[in-house]
Symmetry: C2
Subunit: 418 residues, 2 copies
Amino acid sequence: MKINRDRLMKNVMELSVIGKNEAGGIDRSLSSEADFLSREWIKTYWRDNLKKEAETDAIANLWIRKEGREALSTIVFGSHNDAVPNGGAYDGALGVLAATEIMETLLENKIETRHPLAVVSFTGEEPNPYNISTLGSRVLSGRLRTADLKKLSNNKDGSPLSACIEKLGGDIEKADEILIRENEVAAFLELHIEQGKRLETMKCSSAAVTCITGIYRERITIIGEANHGGTTQMQDRHDALLAACELNLAFEKIVKKANDPEVVGTIGQLAVRPNEVSIIPGQIVLMLEIRTKDEAVKDTIVSALRTEATYIESRRGVTIQREVNLDQPAMYMDKTVVDAVRRGIKTVSGHEKVIELVSMAGHDAANMQRVTRAGMIFVKSLFGMSHCPEELSLAEDIEPTVQAMMEAILILDKELDV
Amino acid sequence: MKINRDRLMKNVMELSVIGKNEAGGIDRSLSSEADFLSREWIKTYWRDNLKKEAETDAIANLWIRKEGREALSTIVFGSHNDAVPNGGAYDGALGVLAATEIMETLLENKIETRHPLAVVSFTGEEPNPYNISTLGSRVLSGRLRTADLKKLSNNKDGSPLSACIEKLGGDIEKADEILIRENEVAAFLELHIEQGKRLETMKCSSAAVTCITGIYRERITIIGEANHGGTTQMQDRHDALLAACELNLAFEKIVKKANDPEVVGTIGQLAVRPNEVSIIPGQIVLMLEIRTKDEAVKDTIVSALRTEATYIESRRGVTIQREVNLDQPAMYMDKTVVDAVRRGIKTVSGHEKVIELVSMAGHDAANMQRVTRAGMIFVKSLFGMSHCPEELSLAEDIEPTVQAMMEAILILDKELDV
């Protein structure tokens, strides 16, 4: 039984038109018109081709279901329909359409499974105007309750999240009811583009994801002395920006020293005060991020950074204040699911060796792991490009990966007795 | 004949109240309420104590005049009444009040001079909402004409400069009429705080200013590659911020190599795009500034910077675009005036050696040098602090400096035959 590659690729192309901007990117953030229209497309496709009427839950996740032969928990698979501003056609959308393709293949082959199956398209996985990512799966996993949701509003127009969710067919008043209960879901599987270059470097189409990286963030304030950029001699300066420059370069060196493709560090946000051409920068506020699955590696980097910061402080006469902003540990995927994914990939590729990767980005699967057995399968991203119009995965890599995911679902259906 | 130190310091304190904010700084930018009120204070002081009615010229510079015995050009002295936001009590104000004190001393001692004398308080010397500094002296020197002035408007409320100048008693329609003609002014002298630490280091109260520094600015754009801060491995990054950090540190090293207190370089303004915590910076725009009196030194720095930029470009795979934004040569003060200042300082201090400094900040005197013989005298700034509430010069340094300036004026009056 094979998935239908051409049908899947046609669907990817059709969905990618929704929200396409003049730069060729896709604008489909939560609450955008394109978010709404892409959901209508998905529901219509399910109705017309799978003969399944979509259910919309309280946080507006979309679902279709297929019954199982036995009284077992549901095996769920899917991803999200939304995109980052000026994003690409594959992040999220490919996971929803791959799940749809698998369900369609099983239906047209009249496959009866032991477990009920469900396809899900999650609400608002990406950063969005409500400042909350992985929204749909957060609610399912109980990380966000109705009381929390009521506090969220659109940072552009101030409208409440409730209005957006209502427009999408949900109802945040009932959000607490959709928390996934014990043994409601047997397993969750998500297909996603890698968004990095590791599969391309290794010339492989697919990988089993073993873990979703931990994310550690510090908000760092460097206090120097704002002074006249003409009259203050070089040796009398306490330039907070120069201190930040040293810190950033030292940080890069420390992270590179780990010499591990799954350890990265970034200073992506930095603000200079007073930010005037002739005034020595008196204050810098920056955000520093470390991603690794390994707490010990993170601790080593943080400690080396402390040494560097102290050195910079004393040499430049500045104060460096560090504040942990986020310290989210790695989320390991369920061993049974990872193993099923590994076996699915092996069956399709015919190779003994299966690539295992840490996901360096966050995903809905991390939330799902809190309430069920979750796993992910990655498909190769060309040039490692993602969150941009150039994002690309090829049919020749997508086909075996979706096929492997279907195999994994059938393995889980056969072997899981919950 | 001695100036009156206590009267002068009392005036400094009284004027410093106007525009004082809760942080202890002074908010007295062009067109502010405090700008208006400080002018009223000055005019009232002149009327009540010097028995001189202020004249307001077309750009709202304030003037009082004293006749001379001979048919000679006028010797002018003064500074500006405005301040930077949250500025100090001495920058500008001290120069106006010192000039006032000298005029008052001459008047009460019934000194007759050969030349007519005039005290001026310039309009808008500091950066202001109309994006034009040294406004009053620019108009007097012909650098700005009515046609230019009509194009300027307030960057906060959009109101035209003409409305502000009208409120202050001027009329930009007549601005072209006040351009200083040949032989209208014999000499110009300005007293100002040093704003640096050189006099403090040398334990001297006063310095003769030989030159106003040249200012060179580049707008530099660094183009890297914005990419996902999780999924992009360290060696695949083209981080524009890290490139900017290297450039800033290399720039500091190059400028320090000149090992000259009168050569400084600053990157004071820097913006990161997209400036998101998990996105590798794709673009940096920064402003770089070099100040030196010496074109050759500037050229050496610019050339060394070019070498560094090329190195950073090739090593980090980024593009560095440099654009000269300002290239203002040094303005040398008039030799006769500098000599008179030097002799004035020597007379008061009793020391043979007189400190000569390059002004590292711009001043109205630079514009005045274009149309007459200009010179400046600096008074010691404590801790080199300026443009901040902590700005401070002591009476014990101010007194001999103002006295020396009066001596210089009397020397010029005696020796200049124009």
